[in-house]
């Protein structure tokens, strides 16, 4: 076995141990606070698989998670801690709703145009922190976090002043016309054709990152910016396009989510998918191929927690502990490192023994 193989093996083991430890802690918390721990655990762990509708819920939630996960993957691979996914997802939804309500287009083209516009607006929002970073070295983390709030209030204002339905009984837009909505594809669930868009984007993002010059430049810049710069890569350009693409994917995610799952635009707060994207990207090791698995896992946890909260006395927020522990343990370089080190030494010694023997 080569040492490289051992390293990959350990990455997988570490991921599973991290998940296991996080789940154990969640179970302990449930045991501690619940008067009906057995019911709570059963509905948490098996609930999502107990009916077609509930399993449908998991897939429905996986779709936006895939987009936000991919968006964060692209930005984190370039070592840009841009948190704009949250805001881009929101404005993407607003922009798509605008096209959906204001224009009359044929069925096939309508959602396409709306989603495209959502993506463009998302990309523009992603551009801003990237531009500020490259131009004046302004910290993208802080600027994007602040920009998320601006996205929320500006998006809400735009929605209210253009497409608000005064008779909606809440702050929301007019109901989308039939032509703009994404079709449901499985009876008994709300799974919509956005699933195909998500799959398409997984493939596109993977191909972009691992099969194109731009993707290569992006990964090199993330690994070692100075090295990339001295090998002739225009790192400033990389920093900008990585964040534009991240914003674009998140914007498309927001557009897809709003046209697939809602009758009208009704988000009056940031939906939180942008930050979920961080958990997904970390679980997937910033590799687009693993994003659907990570997204599905997170969606499973969320749906399970929701079912548990409805059936028993444990609030669904218990999974925030699971998420935090998964992030820090997977990001921890020293976690299980000694074990891995020993394996590698042993492996090398064995190889040496074979050679000498």
């Amino acid at each position: 076995m080569s040492n490289k193989k051992i390293e990959t093996q350990f990455e997988i083991i570490r991921t599973f141990v991290a998940i296991l430890m996080a789940m154990t802690l969640a179970l302990l918390i449930i045991l501690l606070v619940s008067k009906q721990p057995v019911d709570a655990l059963t509905s948490f762990l098996t609930g999502p698989f107990s009916s077609i509708r509930r399993f449908g819920n998991v897939i429905e939630m996986t779709i936006p998670f895939v987009f936000s996960g991919l968006a964060v993957c692209v930005m984190f691979q370039a070592k840009q801690f841009n948190m704009i996914g949250e805001g881009a997802f929101y404005v993407g939804g607003v922009a798509a709703s605008f096209i959906a309500v204001k224009f009359l287009l044929p069925a096939g083209i309508h959602p396409f145009a709306a989603i495209l516009f959502g993506g463009v607006v998302g990309g523009l929002v992603g551009l801003l922190p990237g531009f500020l970073k490259v131009k004046w070295n302004a910290n993208e983390l802080v600027s994007s976090l602040m920009l998320n709030y601006v996205c929320l209030y500006l998006g809400l204002y735009m929605m209210k002043s253009t497409i608000r339905d005064p008779n909606a009984g809440m702050i929301g837009s007019y109901v989308f016309p039939e032509t703009a909505m994404l079709k449901k594809i499985l009876a008994g669930t709300r799974i919509h054709s956005g699933l195909f868009i998500a799959i398409l984007f997984i493939a596109l993002t993977y191909l972009f990152m691992y099969r194109t010059k731009w993707g290569y430049a992006l990964r090199m810049t993330g690994l070692n910016e100075s090295f990339a710069k001295y090998s002739g890569i225009n790192t400033k350009r990389v920093i900008i396009y990585s964040q534009v693409i991240g914003g674009l994917i998140a914007g498309i995610g927001g557009a897809t989510e709003i046209l697939g799952m809602y009758q009208r635009f009704q988000w009056s707060a940031l939906p939180g998918y942008g930050f979920d994207g961080i958990i997904i990207a970390i679980l997937a090791r910033n590799n687009p191929i693993f994003v659907p698995i990570a997204a599905f896992f997170l969606a499973y946890l969320r749906v399970g927690a929701d079912i548990m909260a409805r059936m028993t006395d444990v609030p669904s927020e218990v999974i925030s502990a699971i998420q935090a522990i998964i992030i820090v343990l997977i990001a921890a370089k020293r976690f299980l490192a000694k074990w891995q080190h020993k394996r590698i030494i042993k492996n090398s010694q064995e190889k040496l023994a074979v050679k000498e023997g």
């Binding site: 004046w136 600027s143 602040m146 920009l147 218990v318 990001a331």
Partner: protein
């Protein structure tokens, strides 16, 4: 708009600037200490939020203001220890750890709030205590200035005092010197026998305690309850304030005042005929502008330095 100027130039507005600056100031000072030791504390937002909740819960159960504030501070220290353990011992990326801490606090506070108050939004069913306001004997008799400076929450005075204390601590004490040394060149500090990790642990703990005070003020002074995500980005605004203040306590204080001004402006403008969304945006837009202006200035300085070198 013409209604706005008299409001801004009133003593009550100046009073409210100090009032809303307090949590930002605490968090900014927290950012200074950790940043000086070379460890970025992105988790300030989450630490403040958790401390705010623990202040409410503990003061409600013990009916003691002091215990409430102490619990909030202890929560801040504890959470920063968790941050320190993962980032310094297990070598997790400190930014990711901070983000994880924020996510954990955002959900974890709702979880605990539900257990303590059977409500997922606000803690009004808990009989929590507030830190009292005091008027300062001599100052309150000065015209104008008295109305601005007197009658604040005790924690507001503590935050102002902390500006000087942190300044003295960083520049006049051995530990402060060590913190700065560790932040500037950890290897050099290590070579003269300073334990880098221990110093960073201490810096993060102090940072957590200050953020804890900020949290206590949010729920036991600024308002008298806890509501979900009530810190609303103040921990991040503090990071920008620290950057703008170039990491010095006095500079950061001025930057925090600017952001406090924007916050107070957004509060008073809610009564005017401006779309609510634009009013709510003011603090965040101000922060972005502040950050950009600061970065431009820094950039010019570096360019000038390079030119002189050539």
């Amino acid at each position: 708009m013409e209604n706005l100027l008299p409001i801004i130039f009133s003593t009550s507005f100046a009073y409210s600037v100090l009032r809303v600056t307090t949590p930002i100031l605490f968090a900014s000072l927290a950012a200074i200490i950790s940043d000086k030791a070379g460890v970025i504390n992105i988790g300030l937002e989450g630490i403040m939020l958790f401390a705010a909740l623990m202040g409410v819960i503990s003061s409600a159960f013990t009916q003691s203001v002091l215990i409430g504030v102490l619990c909030a501070v202890a929560t801040g220290v504890l959470l920063s220890l968790v941050l320190a353990y993962f980032s310094l011992n297990l070598k997790s990326d400190i930014i990711l750890t901070g983000i994880a801490l924020n996510l954990f606090s955002s959900g974890g506070t709702v979880f605990l709030l539900f257990l303590a108050a059977q409500d997922k939004g606000i803690s009004v069913s808990l009989q929590s205590k507030v830190v009292p306001e005091i008027s300062i004997p001599l100052i309150n008799s000065i015209p104008v200035l008295g109305e601005i400076l007197s009658g604040h929450n005790i924690l507001t005075y503590v935050s102002l005092l902390c500006v000087f204390l942190i300044h003295l601590f960083l520049y006049k004490t051995p530990l402060g010197l060590r913190i700065r040394a560790v932040g500037e060149t950890p290897n050099a500090a290590d070579s003269v026998g300073i334990s880098v990790r221990r110093i960073q642990y201490m810096a993060l703990m102090i940072s957590g305690a200050l953020a804890g005070l900020g949290g206590a003020y949010m729920s036991m002074g600024y308002v008298s309850w806890f509501s979900r995500d009530m810190t609303a980005g103040r921990g991040f605004i503090a990071l920008a304030a620290e950057a703008m203040g170039r990491g010095t306590p006095l500079g950061t204080f001025l930057a925090a005042i600017i952001f406090g001004f924007a916050d107070a402006l957004s509060n008073v403008m809610q009564s005017l005929r401006v779309p609510a969304e634009f009013v709510q945006m003011i603090p965040y837009v101000t922060t972005i502008l502040g950050l950009v202006i600061y970065s431009i200035k820094q950039n010019n300085k570096i360019k000038k330095y390079r030119r002189n070198q050539v």
